[in-house]
């Protein structure tokens, strides 16, 4: 077992949200990420799934230090990133890249595709001649499936799928060690989505990238991840290898999520037990006591309101935070 590239320990990201009152309003803590711990090894893809407001995007940003952590550590090759100053952090940034959800909004509309893809090189490889940069950009565009002749076009001249290819080229051009993909295919059409997923998986294998793949789409996450972490209201519900999560989910929330995903097969989809998760996501400003999922959980009992379930081992590399996972 190689030592993990990334070690996240008890990471918390809390926001202060103004509640009522214009002048003397009080501030409530919104615990977007509340005590997450996990490791990521080189070349591993960890899928992070959960519904809106579960903290999956905040987690990705906090790991890349794009958002300040409230407490906890994010160790990169043994070095705590949260303790570094700006200059030290910048040296690490070239190894850590992000691909965003909205392909058009994440590209500067006034820069050409070529300039966007070249920007990381200009920031981190200042010794390169402009001819060398041009050559690298050309090569990168070919790799992501864009015609190099499009180098002088602006983002609005590209389709959504092509814009996402530009975003991927920008993220991959420095051959990063860690890439956070935040819903990279959610805005794309079905036929384009498959192309972009394949592209990301090709890069991941070729460069042996560690990837955090954040998505609400459990089907896509199953396809791309080696391990999967299920979040709910800022906490880990379950963390396990892909096949364990999908084959033997232990947490009632994971089970409910998987059952809720429609399968494109009328026979299977109609034969599925129709168990619905009741109710709505509770307000993250006023999360339930004890287990945060208990208000919607079919198995909730009195202990769930009293005690916060800790992550327990339910098998090799399989962790569950539920009082009743054995039942």
């Amino acid at each position: 077992m190689t030592s993990p590239l990334l070690q996240v320990r008890d990471l918390k990201v809390h926001f202060q949200v103004r509640a009522g009152g214009i002048f003397f309003g009080t501030y409530l803590p919104l615990k977007a990420v509340d005590g997450l711990s996990f490791d990521l090894s080189a070349g591993e893809t960890l899928g992070i799934v959960g519904e809106s407001g579960c903290g999956k995007s905040t987690l990705g940003r906090a790991i890349l230090q794009l958002l300040p952590a409230t407490s906890g550590t994010v160790a990169w090759l043994g070095k705590d990133l949260t303790a570094l100053d700006r200059a030290e952090l910048k040296a690490h940034r070239r190894h850590m890249q992000i691909v965003f959800q909205d392909p058009l909004a994440s590209l500067d509309p006034r820069m050409t595709a070529g300039d966007i893809i070249a920007e990381p090189l200009r920031n981190f490889e200042t010794g390169l001649s402009s001819a060398a940069i041009k050559a690298k950009v050309r090569e990168m565009m070919e790799q992501v499936g864009l015609l190099p002749s499009m180098v002088n076009r602006y983002p609005h001249e590209f389709s959504g799928g092509q814009c996402q290819r530009i975003g991927i080229a920008r993220a991959m051009i420095l051959k990063p060690k860690l890439v956070v993909c935040d819903e990279p295919v959610s805005a794309l059409d079905v036929s384009i989505r498959a192309q972009v997923i394949n592209l990301l998986m090709d890069f991941q294998r070729a460069l042996n990238i560690s990837m955090l793949f954040i998505s609400h789409d459990l089907s896509v996450v199953r396809h791309i991840s080696r391990r999967v972490m299920v979040l709910y209201l800022g906490r880990v519900m379950e963390l396990a290898d892909r096949d364990a999560i999908y084959g033997k989910p232990r947490h009632p929330y994971t089970q409910a999520l998987i059952l809720a995903v429609p399968i494109p097969d009328p026979d299977k989809e109609r034969a599925k037990p129709r168990v619905l998760v009741a109710g709505d996501l509770p307000s993250p400003l006023d999360p339930p006591s004890g287990c945060v999922f208990r208000t919607r959980c079919p198995r909730a009992t009195e202990i769930c309101a009293r005690a916060v379930p800790v992550l327990e081992s339910a098998g090799v590399g399989h962790e569950v935070a539920c009082h009743h996972w054995r039942d």
């Binding site: 092509q162 036929s191 498959a194 459990l218 396809h223 399968i263 989809e269 709505d280």
Partner: protein, 332 residues
Amino acid sequence: MSASVLDLRNLSVRFTTPDGDVAAVSELSLSVGKGECLGIVGESGSGKSQTFLAAMGLLAHNGHAVGEAIFGGVNLVAADESTLNGLRGDKLAMIFQDPMTSLTPHMKVGHQLTEVLVRHRNLKSTAARDRAIAMLRRVQIPEPERRFEMYPHELSGGLRQRVMIAMALLCGPELIIADEPTTALDVTIQAQILDLIRRAKEELGTAVILITHDLGVVAGMADRVAVMYAGRIVELGDVHQIFNAPQHPYTKGLLACTPRLDDATASALVTIPGQPPNLQRLPKGCAYHPRCQNVMDRCRAEKPPLMSAGGGGLKACFLENFGRFQAGAVVP
């Protein structure tokens, strides 16, 4: 075959833009039976939404529809605004993707619901209030009396969509057109909303047109499915036939390139090369031919009409004996 509720005949939709005309929908014919759920599948720009916005008389100002959309003996395309207003919200209801933009932000939920009943059923306000609250309860909104007094922004996305469904069901419509009703929602909420729509169909016998890009949603809900590409239907058939034995290469490609929750393999996904065509510069012949792996000379020259695909289905493709689709198989 039961009588049809909505009959589209040669419906075309064009948009006039500064860059020239865009043919969003071309000569589309389709009918929906009583109590039937018809799934409309397609990617962005396939015309799946514009077809039914045109039928509802809700096209943007630069849009223009020709052809017929017969609903209860009335051609909706040619009908005047007051006829349409009499039907919409009464016999003909619509649910949109984003409930925040389809509810009026400055009106209380209750007022928006009772307005429908006062307008279409001439109810007094107290009677309307009772009916509206009963409907909110029926769509499983907790504390309906309290929600009745709330503004849309005070509700979650799932609750807002429930309000939209309650509004759609208030007058007992014959047809609900649901345009991506669950796309903006989380999966657990999506399952709740789909269940509501399914119950409306089963208990009230309402016909449903379900427009979506999500093949999984269609597989669970639809009786028949129409697959659209570049403003035309490329395949139409029974849901089992569409999913188990698709007869059009595009349908087959769409199914193959969708990652499935029940698929444990991590091999590369099958892809459809290229991207959907620009509607202003549609390729000659079959619009799908530049992306089709089974393309023949004829496809580049002639537009394939909808023809029998066996099993009661229709396809717009010249290929004959297109093989049975096997899950996970690579598209030839």
